[in-house]
């Protein structure tokens, strides 16, 4: 493993963790409103998978997507400003935490309705296939979304027409307060593409190196024209479902077990042990992540709000009464 890559992963996960903790603080202070779904515990999934993607690839995600946006190169300033609802946010303050977008980064949005990322992703894949483009789509979703009809409908079409879509399940075991074995007859998500013949693989989603490798392999499959692939990353969220949820339905033992598998600690210990990284490096990266996030908060706070309520509903402003008084 190249040392630079390890350092990159480590910094990415530190930034992700710090960004989310700062968002929680700002939410508590009333600076961020609405639904806020945070990612601590799951960092290895977005970091490992998206660092394996090419800049030309497209990304579609659900609402827990701040880290995915950061990994695609959307600046922490632009993401934080969006959480603050400011005009400098990556969606101009019109989307908020659950709806981050960036055309420049081919980041096609966070979506708040569970199961929407599937049809959107196959649509992008369809267009790419039509144009015989080398780019592919990475479609993220939670394990809870797998029981939505769109999962099965879309995997069927993706397989039928061999669309270049990598389906990445972020299996954190919970759909809000309902654990997977209480909502799914088959809990091995990677097997659930079998009805459409979509090959699947399971990977430890707490291990960024494993996720990175598995994504590289899966992307190769998808990019070669062999059709879609389903990658299940088994992970865990350390916080509640959203800031509105205390997560009280999980036992202290379960939490402790999973926190022991913290993807950051995991990588830190291994990297130190293998001598890929030094304590000094870690200290420096930690400081950098803090400084970047502090700056993002400062930037967001000082940014102006959007003011035009009617902007961008249509390509041109549309009067539903066509100008009548």
């Amino acid at each position: 493993m190249q040392r630079d890559l390890i350092k990159q992963f480590f910094y990415d996960m530190l930034l992700a963790r710090r960004f989310e903790e700062a968002a929680a603080e700002q939410y508590t202070q009333g600076k961020i409103a609405g639904f806020l779904h945070l990612y601590p515990g799951e960092e290895a999934v977005a970091v490992g998978s998206l660092r394996a993607a090419e800049p030309g690839d497209y990304v579609v995600t659900p609402y827990r997507e701040h880290v995915h946006a950061l990994m695609r190169g959307i600046t922490p300033n632009a993401v934080m400003a969006e959480l603050f609802g400011r005009a400098t946010g990556c969606s101009g303050g019109y989307g908020g935490s659950m709806h981050l977008f960036s055309a420049e980064h081919r980041f096609l949005g966070g979506y708040a309705i569970v199961g929407e990322t599937f049809p959107l992703a196959i649509g992008v894949g369809y267009r790419l296939a039509m144009k015989q483009s080398p780019d592919v789509v990475l479609c993220f979703f939670g394990e809870g979304a797998v029981n939505q009809g769109t999962f099965h409908e879309s995997l069927n079409m993706a397989a039928l027409w061999k669309l270049p879509v990598l389906f990445i399940c972020e299996n954190n075991r919970y759909q809000i307060g309902t654990e997977i074995h209480r909502n799914s007859a088959v809990t091995e998500v990677y097997k659930r593409g079998c009805a459409s013949g979509v090959p699947g693989k399971h990977v430890d989603g707490m291990d960024v190196l494993a996720v990175h490798q598995a994504t590289q392999d899966a992307l190769q499959h998808v990019r070669s024209g062999s059709g879609p692939f389903l990658l299940e990353c088994e992970t865990y969220r350390f916080r509640g479902h959203s800031m509105a949820d205390s997560g009280a339905y999980r036992s202290a033992l379960e939490m402790a077990e999973l926190k022991a598998r913290d993807p950051l600690l995991n990588l830190r210990n291994r990297a130190l042990q293998e001598d890929w990284i030094s304590e000094d490096d870690i200290e420096a990266l930690f400081k950098k992540a803090h400084a970047v996030v502090d700056e993002a908060v400062r930037f967001a706070e000082q940014s102006p709000p959007p003011t035009d309520l009617y902007k961008d509903i249509y390509a041109q402003p549309l009067d539903v009464y066509r100008g009548a008084p």
């Binding site: 497209y58 579609v60 946010g89 990556c90 969606s91 101009g92 303050g93 019109y94 989307g95 709806h99 977008f101 960036s102 055309a103 096609l108 949005g109 979506y111 309705i113 929407e116 599937f118 049809p119 959107l120 992703a121 196959i122 649509g123 992008v124 894949g125 369809y126 267009r127 790419l128 296939a129 039509m130 015989q132 009809g149 769109t150 409908e153 879309s154 069927n156 079409m157 039928l160 027409w161 959007p306 902007k311 961008d312 509903i313 249509y314 390509a315 549309l318 009067d319 539903v320 009464y321 066509r322 100008g323 009548a324 008084p325």
Partner: protein, 345 residues
């Protein structure tokens, strides 16, 4: 990526140009021209390809443009409509056919939560040049689940445009305009209009996609309708004319936006108006039209604006009952007579 070309296509596709076309032929021609003009355009839906479309609208196009541009889909309305949204976000110009509006209920997430909101939620970074065509209305004894009218469901959604052509010429014009539009457009078609013949001039220049049209001028009452109810109103106007009551019949053509200025101009002349709609009266499209008009022309009116609408029931299977459930010319004539009163000079 197979691009099949088939000489049969030329034989199957309607001969053109022609002075008269049926609505389905006009729609077919619009799609043919759109597919030929722009590589980004593609058509998808159930049975649109090899089979040629449940109402023949896509006949011949699969042979001509191949499977990637005329795509037969599985029965997955929400996902293939959402597929259209995704493709539209990255440069495609999909035309989704949902066989009937009844099935579109399964695609409302893609239409309302996705297509209508992505431009706004993304701060204008992504647009969704998507057309969703769907056939609705009461046809011939298809029973309650196949006879719905869903104008009201989509009219209330900012971000959508809705057109409802009633003639072959408008079907051609408005579908052509819809495909070129950078916003999502719902094209409401009517099951009983597909085989209606009407004058067609390929060279005539199109009015704006959302303007209404006066189909018959008259001085005494304004009848406002769309889709099949336009014909019902024209029939009623014929009958009323024998009594020297002259109804002005307006074909709305568009339901979002509504061409309110044209309606206002008409009512300033007639001082009376009736909205004739095939859907149930309660919370239907007519409710919006009447409300907008009373806010605008109240002091021009000789009396309240009325609605002649469908009965507040699911559509029955029995043919005679079905006929009584939606407005016909007699119902319109009756309403006008009551409104205008006996014309005694």
């Amino acid at each position: 990526m197979t691009r099949t070309r088939n000489a049969d296509a030329e034989m199957i596709a309607p001969a053109r140009p022609r002075h008269e076309l049926m609505v389905w032929e006009a729609l077919n021609l619009a799609l043919d021209h759109a597919l030929a003009a722009d590589d980004a355009v593609f058509v998808l839906g159930e049975d649109v390809g090899l089979y040629g479309g449940s109402y023949r609208v896509t006949q011949g196009l699969y042979a001509k443009y191949g499977e990637w541009r005329v795509r037969d889909t599985p029965i997955s309305e929400n996902s293939f409509t959402g597929l259209g949204v995704g493709a539209a976000m990255v440069g495609g110009r999909p035309v989704v056919e949902i066989t009937t509006v009844n099935f579109a209920l399964l695609a409302l997430d893609a239409i309302i939560n996705l297509a209508a909101k992505i431009r706004y939620m993304s701060g204008g970074q992504f647009h969704v040049p998507l057309v969703v065509r769907m056939a609705g209305g009461v046809a011939k004894q298809l029973a309650a689940q196949h006879s719905q009218r869903l104008e009201h469901t989509v009219m209330n959604v900012p971000g959508l445009r809705i057109v409802a052509p009633a003639t072959p010429q408008d079907a051609y014009w408005q579908l052509t305009q819809a495909v070129r539009e950078d916003d999502p457009v719902i094209v409401l078609e009517h099951e009983l209009l597909y085989f209606k013949k009407g004058p067609f001039d390929i060279h005539a220049s199109a009015p704006p996609m959302h303007s209404a049209a006066v189909r018959r001028p008259g001085a005494h009452v304004t009848l406002i309708a769309w889709q099949r109810m336009v014909d019902v109103c024209l029939q009623a106007a014929d009958e009323l004319a024998t009594d020297d009551i002259h109804a002005e019949v307006i074909d709305l053509r568009s339901l979002r936006p509504i061409d309110l200025p044209l309606l206002v101009a008409s009512i300033k002349k007639t001082h009376r108006a009736i909205v004739v709609e095939e859907d149930c009266k309660f919370a239907g499209a007519g409710a919006e039209i009447v409300a907008a008009l009373q806010e605008t022309v109240f002091f021009e009116l000789d009396g309240p604006i009325l609605r002649v609408a469908a009965a507040d029931t699911p559509t029955p299977y029995n043919g005679a009952l079905e006929a009584t459930s939606i407005p016909d010319a007699a119902a319109v004539v009756h309403a006008v007579r009551r409104m205008v009163g006996p014309r005694e000079e």
